[in-house]
Structure formats: C-alpha cells, structure tokens
C-alpha cells in the first residue's frame, strides 16, 4: 500500500519539451567595426516572434468492453475517460456527448477533481457548459460521464459517443486561427485535428437476457486481415439476470463464409455438429430462418449467469 502511494507521488509530471505557445522569441544582432581608428559597436533592432499555439487533443476510455447501465436514476452508471491536452498551449476543451438510445440519459459530466479515479459527487466538480477548464500542455485529467438508465430497455447496440474538441478551434490540421493562441499569437490545428472521439457500447441491466456478439479474424498468414481462407471466430455472450427455461441461441452463418466443422463450443466445451444428444448443432440446410446456421439449446438457465457460445467460419 505504502509502496503504491509512494510510486504515485514520485511519478513525474509530464514534461513538455516543446516551446510553449505564446513564448516570445527575441533576437538582436550586434556589430563591431572600426572607424577612424576607433572601435565602435551597434546593436540591431530586437525582433520578436510569438510562438503559435498548436491545438491537439487525445481522449481515451478507461476500461474495456460494454458498460452495464443500471436502470435506476438513484444508482448512476459512471464511465471514465482520460482527456489530454496534447500540444504546446494552455487550452480548454468542449465535450460533446451522444447517446444512441433514448432509454439511457446523460445525467452530467464531472472532472475527477481529487484525481483518485473514482467518481465522488461531493468532491468531483460538475462541468459547466460541458467545458473542461484550461489544461496546461501535456496535462491529462479524468472526466466522468454519468449515465442513468430508465425503465425502458435500450436497443442491444446502444452506444455512448464522447467527442472532445479544443475550445479555440478544431478541424483540418493546419487550420489557423489568427491571434487566438496563447500570448496573442496564432493558433493552428495540429495533427490530431484538435478533436478526439470514443464510442462506448452500453448494455442494460434491466431484467431479461442480453446477447452480445463479437468477432475476431485470423488470416492464414497470422494477420487479422479478412481475406479468402481467413477464419472468423464469432463469440456470442448471453447474459441472464433471471432464471429462465427453454433458452436457445441461434445464429445464421454469414453469406460468403462457410462453417468450420467441429468448431462449435458452449462455455469452452466442444459441441458436435450433428443434431444429437448434446445441446448444439450445425444445420447446413437451414438451422435458422436465414439459411444455414448454428443453434444451441441452453435449456434451464440460472439467475445472474453468463453463457458463451463460439463458432468459426472460413471466408470463401
């Protein structure tokens, strides 16, 4: 415990090696010369160049996978993000949030004021106008999106999209904002476009089953490119809040791919392709309404359980 606290304490703040926006660069030249036997000197004017502010931002999510949103407004769901001022000026950022489902609402945005990584409504300050106060170059802060579910069940593909944009301006790299940089210099959009977005998948905690499907691709050369003979592994994750009976998962084989025989599993255990004693089968003729597909009968399912079905297809 002490060791981890110590490690945090000595973690160096991010050092910005670049010249800060608004820094005046002053130059004066000196000349010496001889006139009528005497040595003299003269200085030039002093010319000043104000370093422009380059606008760049990064936004990353803390954590992975889908976030389970509780249906009760009394128990908000917190989604943390880390926002970084990634360039040489002191800059504010505007956060724009978009929820794809009306069944989930945004209660607000807050800054992790005490830096402990946890949302505490008594300490962590709500953002005004969704605007993050100025951050010095290189500084990162954690921002919390506070979500609340409703009694309505959101669509299975519900998402939260958060976009951060530099307050001074954003857009195509190189876009200039004359005189709007730190110290009265210019501001110019950097390589990130001065904006960054993160999409977070959301699932409801409302009683009832939820099915989340994901896939991974492996080509014959070991890469993840989807080409002929690449194998796609599909993962169907079924979550149950309540005990149910007669649960069954069915999924068609996508057009242009062929089922890999013997690849069907339930919770890691292989299932035969034939329609026999075990829970699963592959039906080449029409396991689903959409044509060939797999089907797994889960039967009696316990409350608060998760079952994972996997199968592979090969790209034709």
């Amino acid at each position: 415990m002490a060791a981890s606290v110590f490690a945090f304490a000595v973690r160096p703040s991010i050092v910005c090696a670049e010249t800060l926006a608004g820094t005046p660069i002053l130059n004066t030249a000196n000349l010496r010369y001889d006139l009528e036997g005497a040595s003299r000197s003269v200085a030039s004017n002093t010319v000043t160049l104000i370093v422009a502010e380059r606008l760049d931002t990064r936004l990353v999510r803390e954590g992975q996978g889908a976030v389970v949103v509780a249906p009760s407004p009394a128990a908000p769901t917190i989604v943390p993000f880390v926002l970084t001022n990634a360039d040489n000026g002191t800059e504010s950022f505007i956060l724009e949030t978009r929820l794809s489902s009306p069944a989930i609402t945004l209660r607000g945005l807050a800054i992790d004021a005490d830096g402990d990584g946890r949302y505490d409504p008594a300490v962590d300050t709500a953002l005004v106008d969704a605007t993050v106060p100025p951050l010095v170059p290189g500084r990162s802060i954690t921002v919390f999106a506070i979500l609340a579910g409703t009694a309505e069940r959101p669509a299975a593909d519900a998402t939260l999209t958060v976009t951060a944009r530099a307050l001074t301006g954003s857009g195509a790299p190189g876009t200039a904002y004359a005189g709007l940089g730190d110290g009265g210099g210019d501001a110019v959009v950097g390589p990130t476009g001065a904006s960054a977005s993160v999409v977070v998948p959301l699932i409801s905690a409302i009683a009832g089953p939820a099915l989340v499907k994901s896939q991974s691709v492996r080509a014959t050369d070991g890469s993840q490119t989807a080409v002929r003979d690449s194998v796609i592994t599909y993962t169907l994750e079924a979550r149950f809040t309540d005990a149910v009976s007669g649960a069954r998962i069915a999924d068609p084989i996508p057009a242009g791919t062929a089922f890999v025989p013997g690849s069907l599993t339930l919770d890691g255990a292989p299932l035969s392709d034939a329609a026999d004693d075990d829970a699963g089968r592959f039906d080449a003729a029409g396991g689903t309404a959409q044509g060939p597909g797999i089907a797994v009968a889960l039967g009696q399912v316990a409350a608060a359980s998760v079952h994972v079905v996997q199968f592979k297809t090969k790209i034709q």
Partner: protein
C-alpha cells in the same frame, strides 16, 4: 528545381525597424519563414515571408542586414548573433556566407572544429544543436553606401 529570390526585396515588405542608434552602420534583424509557391514554369519558388503560426519543429530564418550610411569605409566589421535559447541552429541560409559558430560563446570556428565537454570531462564532436552563437567577419572594409546581409536557418524547439 527550387529557386531563391533575393531576400532583400522581401525584407522591405516585412516592415522591420532599422536600428535607431546613431552612427554610420545601420543593422536590421528579422525573423522570417519560407513560403513555397509553384511557379508557372513548374519550379518551386521559395520566398521568405513574415512569420505566422510558427510552432515547435518549424524552420525559421534569421536575417541580419547591414548598410554603411556614412561617408567613410568601415573596417573590421564583425557581426555577432547569440541564438535565442528556444531555437536550434541548422545551417547558413542558401546564398549567405557560412558563419563561424560557437558552442560556448567564446570560441568561434567551423562546426567541425568544435567539441563539446560533458559533465564527466569527456568531449565529443559538436552538433548544430550545440550552437549558441554565430559570427560573421567582413574580410574587407565596408565602403560608404554599400550593404549586405547574412542569414541562417534554425528550428524552433
């Protein structure tokens, strides 16, 4: 192909203020940036223009112009330009004589002849990043009414 027009013509437009010091030698210091434009004949022309939106990593050109406004020749003319610490020296600007450089503000010479001493006492060959000052000497007296300029390139740290 890249052509470089005379810097002097551009300098006039930058509204640089000449030294107010009385005396026969006028010196004007400017900081400029390159602007590339495609010419009708397919070549790229580089003009030096007033800087805007200069950010770390950008190349800037320091130009020092001098002129003998008096009636007598001036001998042993030496121009010193200590570098602002926020820039790293790169080279003489094309068309300008190469300066002698210094890594300590005392010893001047060509970069290849200079060495940098480390904290442990060892030395290594100097690199452009080590340069802290540049210097030019006029080999012959500057005649009355004559003028010239020196320029070097640097990168904003």
């Amino acid at each position: 192909m890249i052509t470089r027009p005379m810097i002097a013509a551009v300098l006039v437009a930058t509204a640089a203020v000449a030294s107010a010091a009385a005396g026969p030698l006028q010196v004007t210091s400017s900081i400029l940036v390159e602007a590339r434009a495609a010419a009708a004949d397919g070549t790229t022309r580089i003009a030096l223009v007033k800087p805007s939106k200069v950010t770390p990593g950008d190349k800037v050109i320091f130009v020092v112009s001098y002129r003998n406004t008096g009636t007598q020749p001036l001998g042993n003319v030496v121009l010193d330009n200590p570098l602002p610490r926020q820039v790293a020296y790169r080279s003489a600007n094309p068309g300008s004589p190469a300066p002698d450089v210094s890594v300590d503000g005392k010893t001047f010479g060509s970069l290849e002849t200079l060495r940098v001493r480390s904290l442990d006492g060892s030395t290594r060959a100097a690199s452009p990043n080590d340069v802290t000052s540049v210097r030019w000497r006029l080999a012959s007296p500057l005649a009355a009414g004559s003028q010239g300029q020196f320029a070097f390139q640097a990168v904003l740290k």
